[in-house]
């Protein structure tokens, strides 16, 4: 069948236009360079002023395996995952299932080299003879497959009314204004669009119209935002061992540091070490924090396992450290390129013996940035390891956000005594609770005072940091650490509460599940009004108990099997435990609003 015959096949009639409200999925093979084309689309929609979000859903193989890039366009600003109505079928290996997944009335743009594409009479089909557009172009053979992806950008531009100037702008941002690359890519887009305008007839309802809803916003991944936040938090030592999905955090960190952190003579004011494993990465961070530098590591679940012994040590010896966990689906390798909220219990209590740690829970790029710097203030003020729990969905995908606020307070370096202060005090006991908040004073190696030194150890110690096995020393020290944790409780970022005056039902969640939940709440506003508390840190403050007490039932929605947050809340609010119900689910994909909505209706027996 020729391309044109195909285009003229019997197809459903045009429906009334659907403007700025659809999801599209680009199905390609991994390693074919489709990322550039996908990000060009994402950026183009963004530059048109329409709220947008892209999710790369990919397998862990480097090349040849299928990859799906989902773009949601929503004039209402919804960014949760939503099944796609528009498919770009560029991967023969998955074309069958990709076409089957489209809803009735959906659109399939397909590479004409795909054989045996399933024919459905309820879909609109548009062919893309991608190879043709490259003919006669002066480009190296090696780059041809990459450029071929621009063909679907061109056909989509025709289909959706996407102006080429906008695509050109997006390409400019994509290629950092390298004119030659921008031009060759744009040429393919131009040819594909012109071809489509001449040869295809629009039969689908989807269209774009410029809006002003992204004005002043930025588009960034959570890992970039977190790394940038760390730089504005003064990170000076970073150590890591590569693991998806945290690698791009360190890549971004290295770039930002190189750009922003040099002294007057051009010397770097930082050091980044690729360690031999996560154990060493944690050790480097502990050593640096102990000696007075702001230090972080970024990893994912398997790496956290290796850091457990050092984190216990850091808790007990009271060493500031910042650990980013970009969660993926574990145990072991699990689904290494899929998202999850499976490390909450593990990080909160990580370690042998009595240990617990402050955990920050960002849900957006703004919070990644803010917690990026704040984590250092908390770690140094509290003298303890602090976790920042992000996830693959937030970390590796591009999200819209407000330009980040510059930190609203100076660096908080905590209770560190200088030689002069020691001299004035005439006394130093490393682990004494001088202020009643559980936080002792420390000194840094190199402090020129005979009283400055102390011996840091994981073994039992008294207030003077001397070895001690006396039961009362142990108990006193552990009670002080518990007191310190109560101080932490007061200093963590408070939850964000969206209260509904009529709601009998409350929802609690953290991190990226908020997007599906917020959309579901809007859709349920009439039928099942709910209030929503989005937790931004552990340990919890008093607001959480008050919120639970104010509702008949509270569902704790999270991306894991066993309801880890729900278990923590039940543990911390025993008198309210019977009001808390987990809605916990994990299949490796971000939640959809539809799933949350149906689950809530089911639980409330409204369905």
């Amino acid at each position: 069948m020729s391309v044109l015959e195909h285009a003229q096949m019997a197809q459903p009639a045009i429906q009334s236009p659907i403007v700025n409200d659809f999801s599209l999925v680009v199905a390609t093979a991994n390693g074919t360079g489709s990322q550039t084309a996908n990000l060009t689309l994402l950026r183009s929609f963004f530059k048109l002023g329409i709220p947008v979000h892209g999710k790369n859903i990919f397998p862990s193989n480097i090349q040849g395996m299928p990859t799906w890039y989902h773009i949601r366009v929503s004039h209402q600003g919804y960014v949760a995952r939503k099944p796609s109505e528009i498919l770009v079928a560029f991967n023969p290996a998955t074309a069958q299932e990709d076409v089957a997944a489209l809803p009735s009335g959906g659109v399939c743009l397909y590479h004409t080299e795909i054989k045996n594409l399933p024919q459905r009479s309820d879909l609109v089909y548009y062919p893309i003879p991608a190879g043709e557009f490259l003919a006669g172009m002066d480009i190296p053979v090696k780059r041809k497959p990459y450029l071929a992806n621009m063909a679907y950008v061109g056909v989509l531009a025709w289909m959706l009314d996407l102006p080429l100037e906008v695509v050109a702008e997006a390409l400019g941002a994509q290629f950092a204004q390298r004119a030659k690359l921008v031009e060759s890519n744009l040429e393919v887009v131009r040819r594909a669009q012109a071809w489509a305008a001449q040869n295809l007839q629009k039969r689908d309802p989807y269209r774009l119209e410029p809006m002003n809803k992204t004005e002043g916003l930025i588009l960034m991944t959570g890992n970039e935002a977190g790394a940038l936040g760390a730089v504005f938090g003064g990170v000076s030592v970073a150590a890591w061992y590569p693991i998806t999905p945290s690698t791009s955090f360190m890549d971004a960190l290295k770039e930002f540091l190189a750009r922003l952190r040099k002294d007057e003579q051009g010397h770097p004011t930082y050091a980044v070490v690729q360690a031999e494993d996560e154990l060493a990465a944690a050790g480097i961070v502990m050593g640096a924090g102990w000696a007075g530098a702001r230090a972080l590591t970024a990893t994912s679940g398997p790496g956290i396992s290796l850091m457990a012994e050092f984190v216990s040590y850091g808790y007990y010896a009271e060493i500031p450290a910042v650990i980013w966990d970009i969660q993926r689906v574990g145990p072991s390798t699990g689904l290494p390129t899929r998202t999850s909220q499976g490390d909450l219990l593990f990080t909160y209590y990580l370690g042998h013996g009595d240990t617990k740690h402050p955990v920050l829970l960002p849900s957006s790029i703004e919070e990644c940035f803010e917690f990026g710097w704040k984590a250092f203030d908390l770690a140094e003020e509290l003298q303890t390891p602090v976790f920042v729990l992000s996830d693959l969905d937030l970390g590796m995908n591009n999200w819209m956000g407000r330009p980040f606020d510059y930190p609203n307070q100076p660096l908080q370096r905590g209770k560190v005594l200088s030689a002069q202060e020691l001299e004035a005090l005439g006394y130093f006991a490393r682990y004494k609770d001088v202020d009643g908040d559980g936080i002792p004073y420390r000194t840094l190696p190199g402090t020129p005072h005979p009283m400055a030194a102390y011996f840091t150890r994981g073994s039992g110690h008294n207030e003077q940091a001397q070895y001690s096995e006396r039961p009362e020393d142990w108990v006193r020290n552990m009670a002080r650490l518990a007191r310190k944790f109560e101080t932490a409780r007061k200093r963590m970022p408070p939850p964000v509460i969206q209260a509904h005056p009529q709601a009998r039902i409350g929802l609690i969640a953290f991190g990226t599940t908020r997007y599906a939940i917020e959309e579901a709440r809007d859709r349920l506003a009439e039928r099942l009004p709910t209030s929503f508390l989005r937790l931004r840190a552990l340990p919890i403050g008093p607001e959480v108990g008050e919120f639970v007490a104010a509702h008949e039932r509270v569902y704790v929605i999270e991306l894991n099997r066993d309801g880890q947050l729900c278990a923590i809340l039940q543990n911390e609010l025993p008198e309210l435990a019977s009001r808390l119900y987990p809605i916990a689910y994990l299949d490796g994909l971000p939640l959809t609003a539809q799933w949350v909505l149906e689950e809530l209706l089911k639980r409330e027996a409204l369905q």
């Binding site: 002043g216 930082y270 050091a271 530098a293 030689a419 030194a453 011996f455």
Partner: protein, 347 residues
């Protein structure tokens, strides 16, 4: 606080401190343990070199040996880390402040088994520190199991017979790129001291593998890591003497070829009077061959086995200048304009 220079008290060094000022807490190790005598040599050397205690950090892993930093240099910050993980902590600490002098103490279990990975990577990175292995062939702290440096066929009361060949930690250091590899014997106090002084002047990681008998679990005279055996069989490659930077050479005039002067990174020198004809510690192949030979013949060679000051240390590789722990708030946090400029790229 810098103490004023001494006027009358002869027992004070250039830092204005007495030897007692370099003591630590009383040792809780067994009486006669080799580790104790190494601690005393560290105290002596720190006094003789007039080290400023606040500029020194002491680090260790876990083991009897690793406890010993509590027993010397009480006015220096100490970090008794995790079993086998001292190298990473030292790396972080010295990245935070590369002007500190670091003395690390480990054991043969701590370095040769659980910590072998970190040890090798420490050599690769060439962190500027003295890394002492108090090598007794057993796990003292956990009551006498064989360590990875125990000789094949060694029989011990508690541990039985060791069926596996030993790991030679000097060889491991050498092949991992270490530029200062020495072996010594806790019973040879003078050599330990001179090597320690030289190690403190080295540009990168200096490894001292010191045979340090465990009197409780591995000190029968027929055991190669016992006092008796060591005293009888130690075969120094050379006599050595450390010469501080400012000092004239005080060694007796010798025939050319009889001794060799090796210049250390900070301008100090080490004079080596060869006991073994033509041993050249600056030749890696020679060092490698000699270590392998010694292993094969069960010879207890000691001395500066290999020396090469040419590789930059980690702080040099990273281009560090102001210690990262001393950066000002302005150096730590870029300006609002810098933030705006970055965000512009994401608009």
């Amino acid at each position: 606080m810098e103490n004023p220079l001494p006027t009358t008290a002869p027992k004070l060094n250039l830092a204005g401190l007495s030897k007692k000022d370099y003591d630590g807490a009383p040792s809780t190790l067994c009486k006669g343990c080799g580790h104790n005598s190494i601690s005393s040599q560290i105290v002596q050397v720190a006094f003789e070199l007039s080290l400023r205690p606040h500029q020194v950090i002491k680090l260790s892993g876990i083991g009897c040996s690793s406890k010993s930093p509590a027993y010397f240099l009480g006015m220096s910050h100490g970090f008794n880390a995790l079993h086998g993980r001292m190298p990473s902590v030292a790396t972080g600490a010295l990245l935070a402040n590369h002007t500190l002098r670091a003395i690390g103490v480990s054991g043969d279990g701590d370095t040769g088994s659980i910590g072998l990975g970190q040890f090798k990577h420490l050599m690769r990175r060439n962190l500027r520190m003295v890394y002492i292995i108090e090598n007794n062939g057993v796990y003292g702290l956990t009551k006498g199991q064989f360590s990875a440096t125990a000789e094949e066929g060694l029989r011990l009361k508690y541990a039985g017979e060791n069926p596996f060949p030993p790991v030679d930690l000097c060889l491991e250091a050498l092949v991992a790129g270490c530029g200062f590899v020495a072996r010594s014997f806790a019973g040879d106090a003078k050599q330990v001291r001179e090597l320690l002084k030289a190690a403190l002047s080295h540009r990168g990681t200096a490894v001292l593998d010191i045979i340090s008998p465990c009197v409780t679990f591995n000190n029968e005279d027929d055991s190669p890591k016992s006092y008796g055996y060591g005293t009888k069989h130690e075969k120094p490659l050379h006599e050595l003497g450390f010469i501080p930077p400012a000092e004239e050479i005080a060694i007796e005039p010798m025939q050319p070829g009889e001794y060799r002067l090796v210049e250390l990174h900070d301008g100090s020198r080490i004079a080596l009077r060869n006991l073994e004809a033509d041993y050249d510690p600056t030749d890696k192949t020679v060092a490698l061959r000699r270590l392998l030979e010694a292993q094969e013949k069960q010879e207890f060679i000691t001395g500066l086995i290999y020396y090469n000051p040419h590789r930059p240390n980690l702080a040099e590789v990273e281009g560090l200048h102001t210690p990262l722990a001393h950066l000002s708030p302005e150096q730590l946090r870029p300006s609002p304009a810098a933030l705006a400029a970055v965000l512009q790229d994401y608009a």
